[in-house]
């Protein structure tokens, strides 16, 4: 250690008060602390080394694992890259043969220009549209008018309201010639019964064999069915 007098003189120059106190320690240590410290520290080192050796034994790695790990990883990366290449070659050989070079270009100095910077700045900022008091009242009244229009139209075009047609009455009003003419024009009818799908019945031929009374009687008997059909 450096000369004690030199250090004492140094502190006397800076602070005679501190120098007068002296550097004797005021703290005390427990009795026999230093004589027992060595065994305490050796015991602690022994325990620490035991814990560490136990830690090491918990898991093990295959021999030379870390030596070959970089090679193993590189081999795997290469294999993955080859799989990617061969996959595209199988799916689209022409696409695989093309160069991935970018064909698009941007104006010179575009990314350094103010235009680009302004674009980035504007993109990050949400745009706010402001309405004047007048514009707001126009929008409010327009919305109210549209709603009223929708409601009025809805009343007239309500799905429950359909114009019904009294078919029986209408058919009865038709003359025999008009009926015959209708059936002549619409001679082929597809029967909806699944068992007879594809069978075609020539209604005109069938009707020719029926009398006018038979037709009227049929229409009166099936009046309700016809009514339902037309309402659908």
């Amino acid at each position: 250690m450096e000369n004690r007098d030199l250090i004492l003189k140094e502190i006397e120059d800076v602070s005679p008060l501190i120098a007068s106190i002296g550097n004797r320690s005021v703290f005390k240590v427990p009795e026999a602390y230093f004589s027992q410290f060595l065994s305490a520290i050796l015991l602690k080192i022994y325990k620490t080394s035991m814990v560490e050796s136990n830690k090491q034994d918990t898991y093990s790695v295959p021999e030379n694992y870390f030596q070959y790990l970089p090679v193993t990883i590189l081999t795997r990366i290469k294999a993955d890259m080859e799989i990617e290449t061969s996959e595209l070659a199988t799916i689209a050989p022409l696409l695989n043969s093309l160069d991935k070079k970018n064909v698009y270009s941007v104006p010179e100095q575009y990314f350094k220009s103010n235009h680009h910077n302004r674009y980035i700045k504007d993109k990050n900022k949400a745009r706010l549209l402001s309405f004047s008091k007048f514009s707001r009242s126009i929008v409010t009244y327009s919305a109210a008018a549209i709603m009223a229009g929708v409601m009025v139209t809805g009343v007239f075009y309500h799905p429950g309201q359909t114009n019904s047609l009294d078919v029986t009455k209408e058919v009865n009003n038709l003359s025999d010639d008009e009926l015959k003419g209708y059936f002549d024009d619409h001679s082929v009818v597809y029967v909806e019964d699944s068992s007879n799908i594809g069978d075609e019945i020539n209604v005109a031929d069938q009707l020719k064999s029926l009398s006018d009374e038979e037709i009227n009687g049929y229409l009166q008997e099936n009046q309700s069915n016809l009514k339902n059909d037309t309402s659908k």
Binding site: M1, I7, S15, G22, F27, V29, F34, L38
Partner: protein, 183 residues
Amino acid sequence: MHLEDSELLFQFKQPSSKEKELAFTGIVKKYQEKLYWHIRRMVVDHDDANDVLQNAFIKVWKGLANFREDSQLYTWLYRVATNECLTFLDQQKKRASVSLNEDENGLSNKVKADENFDSSKLEWKLQLAIQQLPERQRLVFNLRYYDEMPYEEMSRILETSEGALKASYHHAAKKIEDFLINN
């Protein structure tokens, strides 16, 4: 009678574990008191000083095989002990900031809590004054005033220039004097 540091280091680097333990025992016996007091002045409480000293010697045990002898053994031991001290004090500060009950100046309270504390004695007032200093200044003052360490060695331990250490020591002494006069 203690062996020279170079002999202890040579003995420690022998393959025999018995030689190694003997060398380590020699190092502990030779430096335990110096390092203890260096630590104790920084952390104040004996139990804390004991913990820090044990941790420091465990670090020494683990690191001594790789000690390159660029510096003297005792300089290296002081550096290990100082780093352990600073780590411990950092942990204490973190705990104090988490715990709302902890006082702002825990070290002064620890001084006052010492069983031999006597507020009328100037030596104890000096201890309270030292605890008011910033950590780095406290370290410099203790190493110079109590351990009587040359600035050159302090510079190696604290990795600070000798000029800066001298200035720090003078500032610390002035602050302590002010505290002693005003309290």
